[in-house]
């Protein structure tokens, strides 16, 4: 049943709206590169700037729209008219919740990959892979080959955990906010933003405290010392992992107690 629920949740989140955004983003990405290949007259420079601005807008819009579609799916399917069907399906509450979380994570990963591929093509150009190789080599030169690989994986993991942290803060706010009888949307937004800010401040305090003890001044060729990077990286990953897991279990446990639909 989880697979079937996932199919419908994923389709809803990634509907025509997202498809249009991805198509427009693809067209603008191609146009940016095409314009760059023309002789750079004043007109072409202006067009290039406009397209670059549109590219960045599209980039941000895709990410924001993906988040909004995820949160809208939670609200619509758990608390609005279609909740009358959702909550009467012969599936467990765990399955209902997990399906949405998994569909949300899959949708976010797809959105991030698409926008990053576009950014890679636009900003690094046809020699993008060579540019990346040079950047990776400088990482190996600063540290060592094993750590350079771990660093890249760690960075990807950290970005993913941060994105999930933002997503879960919204979901947590929705689940708690809709336990009330009145002002549900206002309370959902307030709790979501409030919990996000509170945990971000906690993160900031933790990193500041570590910064007092870590060697952050000894920068060599633009790279901080190896141990400093390891400490900050590990703390960041562990902290976001703990926040994400805490958010997930708290939201799921509260959701499992039942809902009061509109």
């Amino acid at each position: 049943m989880l697979g079937k629920l996932f199919k419908y949740d994923f389709k809803w989140i990634n509907n025509k709206v997202m498809f249009i955004y991805y198509s427009v983003f693809l067209i603008i990405t191609i146009l940016v590169k095409v314009i760059e290949s023309f002789e750079q007259t004043i007109l072409m420079v202006v067009v290039d700037k406009i397209l670059s601005g549109m590219f960045i807008s599209c980039f941000i819009s895709i990410i924001i729209t993906c988040f909004m579609r995820i949160w809208a799916r939670f609200i619509d399917n758990f608390y609005k008219d279609s909740s009358y069907l959702t909550h009467t399906l012969p599936v467990t509450k765990d399955e209902l919740f997990n399906s949405k979380v998994l569909a949300s994570i899959a949708s976010l990963i797809i959105a991030i990959i698409i926008v990053l591929l576009g950014a890679f093509y636009v900003f690094l150009g046809d020699n993008g892979f060579d540019t990346l190789k040079i950047m990776y080599q400088s990482l190996i030169d600063a540290y060592n080959s094993i750590f350079a690989f771990i660093f890249v994986i760690g960075l990807i993991l950290l970005v993913l955990l941060e994105v999930l942290f933002f997503m879960f803060s919204g979901i947590f706010g929705i689940i708690i906010g809709h336990r009330f009888n009145n002002y549900k949307m206002f309370k959902s937004i307030a709790i979501g933003i409030g919990s996000y800010l509170l945990l971000s401040i906690i993160m900031f305090v933790i990193l500041s405290l570590i910064g007092n003890y870590a060697d952050i001044n000894n920068i060599v060729d633009g790279f901080p010392p190896l141990n400093t990077v390891k400490v900050f990286g590990c703390v960041g990953i562990i902290a976001y992992l703990v926040f994400d897991i805490a958010y997930y279990f708290m939201a799921k446990n509260i959701f499992n107690k039942g809902v009061n639909v509109d």
């Binding site: 809803w12 279609s82 009358y84 039942g258 809902v259 009061n260």
Partner: protein
């Protein structure tokens, strides 16, 4: 064992008591009218039976088990509002029901749709409200459930459509199953009811066989209701 048993159910919203200690038993093979004025607590009771609201206290048992996956496999619910994903086509929503409900009869659903002259490729958002409600009814009655719970299936529709709805209900529910129909349009449903439950101000004020009540009061259920709840 009773098909459905409700024990001391209470529910409040913003310090206002909507249900005040409801006790009720429904047996198999009965068509039960849940009758009451607007705001009596009928829909609240039905929503709790279908796990859409958390009761403050009390229990709802389906075949002796608490409301959960098992009860949802055997209860077919028609709410008072349209709950279908309007971005879907009719075919999509039939496949959705078929995916989740083992007792859903696709052939019956398509046969009923054909009678309505409804194109299975049409989008729900493009259908009128009346057609959406009929589609919902078809989906609900295409299940071979043990209990059908229909919340105000006749409100907001014309008399001809009311007859269609009642005929669809009577000709498509599983033999031996029970139906709970919540309504305030008593004269329309009276003819099909086995039992009646009057609910007023969050309490059950009367629970009886329809025939016995008519014999005792020497009046139709509709007239008894009007006498009891005269403003």
């Amino acid at each position: 064992m009773d098909l459905l048993e409700i024990k001391n159910l209470t529910k409040s919203f913003d310090n206002k008591k909507i249900l005040k200690g409801i006790n009720l038993k429904i047996n198999s093979g009965k068509i039960v009218g849940l009758l009451g004025k607007n705001g009596a607590g009928k829909s609240t009771l039905i929503k709790i039976i279908n796990d859409l609201l958390i009761p403050d206290s009390g229990k709802v048992l389906f075949e002796g088990k608490e409301i959960g996956v098992y009860s949802k496999e055997h209860i077919s619910y028609l709410p008072e509002r349209t709950y279908l994903d309007k971005s879907m086509k009719v075919n999509d929503v039939i496949n959705f029901f078929s995916d989740f409900y083992k007792d859903f009869d696709k052939k019956r659903a398509y046969a009923l749709l054909k009678k309505l002259d409804l194109d299975a490729d049409s989008r729900i958002i493009k259908m009128s409200k009346g057609m959406q409600e009929k589609l919902q009814l078809i989906l609900v009655m295409s299940r071979d459930a043990s209990l059908y719970v229909l919340d105000e299936p006749l409100s907001g529709v014309d008399p001809a459509t009311r007859d269609y709805i009642l005929d669809t209900i009577l000709s498509n529910f599983k033999e031996g199953a029970s139906i709970i129909i919540s309504t305030h349009l008593i004269s329309d449903v009276e003819r099909i009811l086995d039992d009646v439950v009057f609910i007023d101000n969050g309490k059950i004020v009367l629970s009886s066989s329809a025939d016995e009540l008519r014999k005792k009061e020497k009046a139709s259920i509709d007239e008894v209701f009007r006498r009891m709840f005269k403003c």
